[in-house]
Symmetry: C2
Subunit: 345 residues, 2 copies
């Protein structure tokens, strides 16, 4: 009867407060987050990812009276799953996606090879159990004066046998404007720098440069945008301190980006501005499909969830043969800073 | 004075008849094509490429009273160059490009490695002089009921030392409809089959299957279109007969495709049809940037001409999260044949 259904609902969803705190039930279940401070790092990181997804989607939804996030909770046959939240054709955001994925299984040999090439001490001839989770997001706004933002924060564990586990964090946030507003670039970088500095003042300069290098589109001789921070294989000084650093970066997403949306979203723009935005979104597609490590890894992973991997692509992109902006136009000003990255702070 | 200028013009351009026969001066010069039957294969193939470019551009131009081909003759600092012809925003063609490139130099080690993996007997530790030329083309029409066509015919020579040269041909033509018209697919395939059969009836079935395999988009589990023919490393029964085969295929381009344009270009269509066309053009971008061997080779070649390599990308492409056509709709009918290729003849 009604009371036993209530029990099932109570057991599977936990308290109604938990239920409202996330976009969907976490892959590991609501109950896995109880007493979280005493849980293993992978659950603490999963909770952080779900918290970031929820708070960001709530902030974005405030700007969208007419469009709603489509929330998909999906499972992966080889282990794990995810929660994808995507909003399309909003008043402020043309397309925005925030994806949490929590997958585990056996590491495929090409991944082992790639990690060994980055200096990981992994045995070569064994199937290695792994655990990978993270939150990733790309937001493409409608107004060409609002930049696109991307971030990703992730945690990786590999069981190397004999009871030993290797683990590390990776991630970053970066900004892709269509028109350069130096104040916006400075605000974005300053917010990230403050998050980095709370752990170690040496981090921001190092990760800012890493970001400029990572988002280099070799065949165009330009960067994707004005950068931000990027890091990988981070495990020092210790797991706890690295997690605190990653948390600070993840919590900097909203204050680094949302003010730029509010500032620019209602600026008037022309069809020429929108065309330039579509052309630059074509370059975004080029980076993601040709170079991005996460996208390439995803596309080559058997039974990966393609829709979640490619939700980073813009709603519309354009390619014109031999398009080149006029010298000293606002479009040209952007290109110059993409060819020659600047120090913003 | 005037008479010496006239002489210079006469020497560099040959007769005015030659000048009107190509979109621009061939990379090897007009005079290189004189007495062509007695010239080396690379010049005969270059003339074929220039002829195909010229006759196709003339046919396409007939349908475009308001747009003109932009013709760029370009040079490559390491040797060779090309002629790119691109038409954008026409009445019939949204974007179409026909590119001839004729390049030579030293083969980079990754290319040697890739060719060895395909069974070429190339020495590994030497810098090998090479000569590569071809014509390639992608045409994206305005009307969603007109398919996109792509073709590429190419010739490769490598000097392996001791006076020995390896040479081979490659190429193919394939059709990418947005809506399936079985008569169109049959016409396209029949025309190609006839071209193949003129050399050897065993070729069409083999190259039809190779095409279905090559244009497979692994991460989507579907082919790019309804196929055509594809081949590579072709050098038997001998160079002359292989050239005759390639010429027959290249000369089949116009009769295989132009009738489909005339038949469908004025069909009425809705915004929904155009949206589906943009979504499928997104898949075209995915294939070209993630899988296409020629595009990947081009993007990783130092000082390649990026605008010519990426002229294959459509003017506009679209990506929608979780888009899926209704069961048994015309869009769904196309998807089914992309997932399960058919014999058209």
């Amino acid at each position: 009867g009604a009371s036993s259904l209530l029990m099932i609902s109570w057991f599977s969803f936990g308290s109604s407060k938990d239920k409202d705190s996330y976009m969907a039930e976490p892959v590991s279940g609501y109950r896995a987050f109880k007493d979280i401070e005493n849980k293993p790092m992978r659950l603490r990181m999963e909770k952080l990812c779900m918290d970031v997804q929820h708070s960001l989607c709530q902030e974005l939804q405030k700007l969208e009276p007419n469009a709603k996030f489509c929330v998909d909770r999906w499972e992966r046959s080889q282990g794990g799953g995810g929660v994808s939240c995507v909003l399309q054709r909003g008043d402020t955001f043309e397309k925005g996606g925030v994806n949490v994925s929590v997958v585990h299984g056996k590491l495929p040999p090409p991944a082992v090879k790639q990690m060994r090439s980055r200096g990981k001490d992994l045995p070569q001839d064994k199937e290695l159990p792994f655990y990978a989770l993270g939150v990733s997001c790309v937001i493409h706004p409608v107004n060409p004066f609002v930049p696109t933002v991307h971030f990703n924060y992730r945690y990786f564990e590999v069981d190397v046998g004999n009871g030993e586990t290797l683990s590390w964090f990776g991630g970053g946030s970066d900004l892709t404007p269509y028109y350069l507003d130096e104040d916006d670039a400075r605000h974005f970088h300053s917010t990230l720098k403050a998050a980095c500095d709370s752990s170690d003042p040496a981090l921001y300069p190092k990760f800012k440069k890493w970001c400029d290098d990572y988002f280099y589109v070799d065949h165009r001789g330009e960067r994707r945008g004005v950068g931000g921070i990027f890091f990988d294989d981070l495990d020092s000084p210790n797991k706890e301190k690295t997690f605190q650093f990653v948390r600070a970066c993840a919590e900097a997403v909203i204050p680094s980006y949302l003010p730029l949306v509010y500032k620019n979203k209602d600026k008037p723009y022309t069809e020429e501005n929108a065309r330039w935005q579509r052309l630059r979104r074509g370059r975004y597609v080029e980076f993601n499909l040709v170079y991005d490590r996460g996208t390439k890894f995803g596309l080559s992973t058997p039974s990966a969830r393609i829709e979640s991997i490619l939700m980073s692509l813009p709603l519309v992109a354009q390619w014109e043969y031999m398009h080149s902006p006029q010298a000293n136009s606002p479009e040209d000003t952007l290109l110059r800073v993409l060819k020659e990255p600047k120090e913003w702070i």
